[in-house]
């Protein structure tokens, strides 16, 4: 099977969604989303960890080919993206939007670009997809976001400028690598012989792009505003998939290319990540807006992922990949819960909530399981990721593992406190409608994934082990 088919499905899906008109847009998007999910599962079953390649010539001078590579790591990311896409669409299908054909078309296009970025094995192609995914989300935030239009525009603009600035420096680093190696191919980048100074500059240029995208403390300043202003569907895409694009790129494009610099900067960056984990947790405790709260909670969790990746050990990387997948599903569940609350109560202020549990038993159970998973209770997907990351960090330095473990405790504190304020307490006067059928299906799917892989994680670790072994080999070169 040709791996470009998945890109074609998504691109055609984006175009047809636009053409199908407002009434059918979400259904057409759903159809192509499911098709992409089925195709990626089939791809995974066929090739597994061995992976598949695809390459045709694209630009003759300088020599750039359209090369895709679906090894275990990319495959895991694509599985996450394409399975999340129908879940997200299903979740927002019942909501009313103006100009739905445009919205869903942009969503499909954004997923197309992100899948492209996960698949590319040519640096310039990767950059093109990486940058292309930025346009749709910008317009999703500006056109369909919440709150005052002036503030929304400002948040979206800040986000765009930050990420664009970061990625341009990455572009410069990519071109510099090209002048050194004479090729944009991933293998050439891996085998490039760079001096120590060159490695440091290239590492920093890449780091700027990824630290803004993930985001890593102190490059996170755009995040809370954007997550708050974006519509639910945009937040789910941003937090669930787009931030993972940064984390994936660290593992795929940054660490193996600049091994010396990665080792040099390991201490500083791991400490930054740990600060981010703690800082996110403390900031989350002080938020009164549910989406801002989740934004800071997410900052704390992605700090975990980044710490695992920059630990540079096999276990750290494996934990990072597991947590990428787990957090992708978990955060979508959390933001979906926020959306459910918002559509019913028309507010996101935590202090105005409370007593929902009495009215909506199904929702409170679903929300509670999502929270437990994001805290990292054993038998959930997140737990395995966090535990493996801590093990990876322990191999580097015991203190890293200890501090980040303390932060886990903080995570439990802020999450449970939020649950208490939102769901428990005196039953509210206003009735709160329990989950509808589609909403139940969305939660069931997400929780199913989180629990299943929490119990039986072997398929994931088997899938990514070959790629990670190769990457670790290049890191320790």
């Amino acid at each position: 099977m040709n791996i470009t088919i998945i890109l074609i499905i998504l691109l055609v899906g984006a175009i047809l969604t636009y053409l199908s008109g407002n009434r059918f847009a979400s259904k057409v998007a759903m159809l192509f989303g499911v098709a992409a999910a089925i195709f990626s599962v089939a791809l995974c079953l066929k090739y597994g960890a061995a992976g598949a390649n695809f390459s045709i010539d694209w630009i003759s001078k300088p020599n750039i080919s359209f090369s895709l590579k679906a090894d275990g790591l990319s495959m895991a990311m694509i599985l996450m993206t394409t399975i999340l896409l129908p879940i997200i669409i299903l979740g927002t299908q019942s909501r009313e939007f103006k100009n739905e054909k445009m919205l869903y078309s942009l969503v499909m296009f954004m997923v197309f670009a992100m899948v492209g970025a996960f698949l590319s094995s040519n640096a310039l192609l990767y950059y093109v997809f990486w940058e292309m995914s930025l346009i749709p989300i910008y317009f999703i935030i500006v056109l369909w976001g919440n709150g005052e239009i002036v503030k929304r525009r400002k948040a979206a603009m800040t986000f765009f400028l930050f990420t664009f600035a970061g990625s341009l420096f990455m572009l410069a680093a990519i071109i510099y690598m090209y002048t050194k190696t004479g090729s944009f191919q991933l293998e050439a980048f891996y085998n490039a012989s760079l001096s120590q100074t060159e490695q440091i500059w290239i590492f920093l240029a890449f780091f700027l792009a990824y630290a803004i995208k993930i985001p890593i403390f102190p490059f996170h300043t755009w995040q809370a505003n954007v997550y708050q202003k974006a519509p639910a569907i945009g937040t789910m895409l941003l937090a669930g998939i787009m931030s993972k694009m940064g984390a994936y790129s660290v593992i795929r494009w940054q660490l193996p290319v600049t091994p010396y610099a990665s080792n040099e900067f390991r201490t500083i960056i791991v400490i930054l990540c740990i600060i981010g984990v703690v800082y996110g947790a403390i900031m989350a405790l002080r938020q009164d807006d549910l989406k801002r709260f989740l934004a800071y909670a997410s900052l704390s969790h992605v700090g975990f992922i980044a710490a695992g990746s920059y630990a540079l050990t096999y276990d750290g990387l494996e934990g990072a990949v597991i947590l990428i997948l787990a957090h992708g599903f978990g955060i979508v569940g959390m933001f979906y819960s926020a959306d459910v609350i918002q559509t019913r109560m028309h507010t996101l202020t935590i202090s105005k909530m409370g007593g929902i549990k009495e009215h909506a038993p199904k929702f409170s159970v679903a929300f509670f399981i999502s929270i437990l998973s994001s805290i990292g209770i054993p038998l959930t997907f997140n737990f395995i990721g966090e535990f493996t990351i801590m093990f990876g960090l322990y191999q580097v330095n015991l203190w890293y593992a200890l501090t980040i473990g303390t932060a886990l405790f903080l995570g439990a504190l802020f999450m449970l406190r939020m649950y208490q304020q939102v769901m428990l307490g005196e039953p509210s006067v206003n009735p709160f409608r329990d989950l509808s059928k589609t909403e139940t299906v969305v939660f069931a799917l997400i929780i199913g994934v989180l629990i299943f892989f929490g119990v039986y994680v072997k398929p994931v670790t088997d899938l990514v082990s070959t790629s990670l072994t190769e990457i670790v080999m290049y890191i320790n070169r």
Binding site: K61, P62, E131, M132, F160, L171, A172, I175, T179
Partner: protein, 463 residues
């Protein structure tokens, strides 16, 4: 050579048609004629020989570079001319003059990139400039248009005199106007070149920098662009600008001996200044034509970078020129459509455009994204190829300033996009835009997108 002759003949035909009272078929004939010339040039390019044989005085040399640029000029001229009948609707009895002037302007532009003799170069430059002066002042009852024409004329004449003096000094050094002779002689005498050769070279390039509006010779551009009729502005900011850049590139290639390390530093500084001044000033503009003028200045800075690696970047400069000018034409087609019947081109005209004219809004956003260098539009690859060239020739500082400027630029380009989407307009009623403007906008942006998806169309050429 056949291209130049054919275009000049077409210009004369335009005037004749008016004499014979055939105004109705004027635009179709001109467009078909230009497309035929386009076919002729493309054929000559791929055959590698001229239909008219070689010219024994070596006045015009058809190289891949000159033909590539000529093809670009003709495409741009076709797109602009297609918009003229609607634009000159209320002065339809003068249309033949305007169309003929535009065709002659293309002839001048073609001569400017395919000259084999500095005299021919100067003739081409003057044909282009004089046509452009008249077009800038082509709204005779409008005070601002008159002002624009006057300013452009004075500044342009000043620049032309610099160029002429430069050519004279170079003639003084070698006793020849022929570019082949000059190139050979200057290479042979490298190291012991007379001082007036370098002086002539500097004057020649300064004159061309005036034409290409490179900082610090850019002061005329915003006023002239704002005052001129919008269609003339579209022509000046795309065709005239890339013609000047193409000519500058060719002149520097011929006289590459004079590009000393000191001169390179000057080029680097001017390039950084051009990008930065253009972008920073563009951020504050309230008038969309002024904004486009300043954005054009900053793009000239990007194109100018290629002068630092003339040996390898002929494709790059052509690609950048094509990407920039196609996006520019698309943007100007939208501006023409939206500001039709208004007495100014302020940003307020664009408030809430998405509700009144969604198609044009989408095209304008695409054009702005291309200008700011976002994939997969051609603007991205243009910047990418330039940065690639600069890193290969070791000018890291230019790349860093280029990146910083791209970030500044995206701020004001997206600012315009935001205005169209989020601000409320006074009226909600749909805006009626003539079919021609829409068609040109769609074609220009599609060509831009095609160049972005298949950059090899230009990068693979053997220039």
């Amino acid at each position: 050579m056949s291209t130049l002759i054919a275009i000049s003949a077409l210009g004369i035909i335009c005037l004749l048609l008016e004499i014979f009272n055939l105004r109705k078929i004027l635009i179709p004939v001109t467009l078909i004629g230009l497309i035929a010339v386009l076919g002729l040039t493309v054929t000559e390019f791929y055959l590698g020989q001229s239909f008219l044989g070689t010219d024994k005085y070596n006045m015009l040399v058809a190289t891949g570079f000159s033909q590539g640029f000529s093809i670009l000029f003709i495409i741009l001229a076709v797109l602009i001319l297609a918009m003229s009948p609607k634009f000159y609707q209320d002065r339809i009895d003068k249309i033949a003059d305007y169309v003929a002037l535009k065709v002659f302007l293309v002839a001048g532009a073609v001569a400017m990139v395919s000259f084999g003799n500095f005299i021919m170069f100067f003739v081409g430059l003057e044909v282009l400039s004089i046509a452009a002066y008249i077009l800038a002042a082509s709204d005779p009852k409008n005070l601002r248009s008159n002002e624009a024409g006057m300013k452009y004329f004075i500044m342009g004449a000043f620049a032309s005199s610099f160029i002429l003096f430069g050519i004279a000094l170079i003639y003084g050094a070698f006793g020849s106007f022929d570019i082949a002779t000059v190139a050979i002689a200057s290479t042979a005498q490298a190291g012991s070149l007379p001082i007036w050769f370098s002086l002539g070279f500097v004057m020649l390039t300064v004159g061309l920098m005036f034409k290409a509006s490179i900082v610090p010779f850019h002061f005329w551009a915003p006023d002239v662009y704002e005052g001129s009729p919008t269609l003339s502005t579209a022509l000046m900011s795309t065709l005239v600008k890339v013609a000047a850049i193409g000519a500058l590139f060719k002149v520097v290639t011929i006289l590459s001996v004079a590009v000393t390390p000191v001169y390179q530093i000057v080029l680097i500084v001017l390039s950084i200044l051009t990008m930065t001044v253009g972008n920073v000033t563009a951020m504050k503009q309230k008038n969309i034509k002024r904004m486009m003028a300043y954005s054009g200045i900053s793009h000239a800075g990007f194109m100018m970078m290629t002068l630092l690696s003339i040996g390898t970047s002929a494709n790059t400069v052509l690609y950048y020129a094509a990407a920039y000018s196609l996006a520019g034409i698309a943007a100007f087609a939208v501006i023409l459509g939206v500001c039709r019947g208004k007495d100014n081109e302020d940003m307020t005209n664009f408030f809430g455009l998405v509700k009144r004219q969604p198609v044009l809004t989408a095209i304008f956003i695409c054009a702005l994204l291309s200008l700011s260098g976002i994939p997969v539009f051609a603007g991205f690859f243009a910047k990418f190829f330039v940065f690639d060239q600069m890193l290969q020739s070791g000018h890291l500082v230019l790349v860093i300033f280029g990146i910083i400027n791209s970030i500044i630029a995206v701020f004001y380009y997206l600012g315009v996009a935001n205005i169209m989407i989020t601000k409320e307009s006074e009226t909600e009623e749909p805006l009626r835009v003539p079919f021609e403007y829409k068609a040109v906008a769609v074609i220009a942006i599609s060509l831009n997108l095609l160049l972005g998806i298949f950059p090899s169309v230009i990068m693979g050429l053997n220039l």
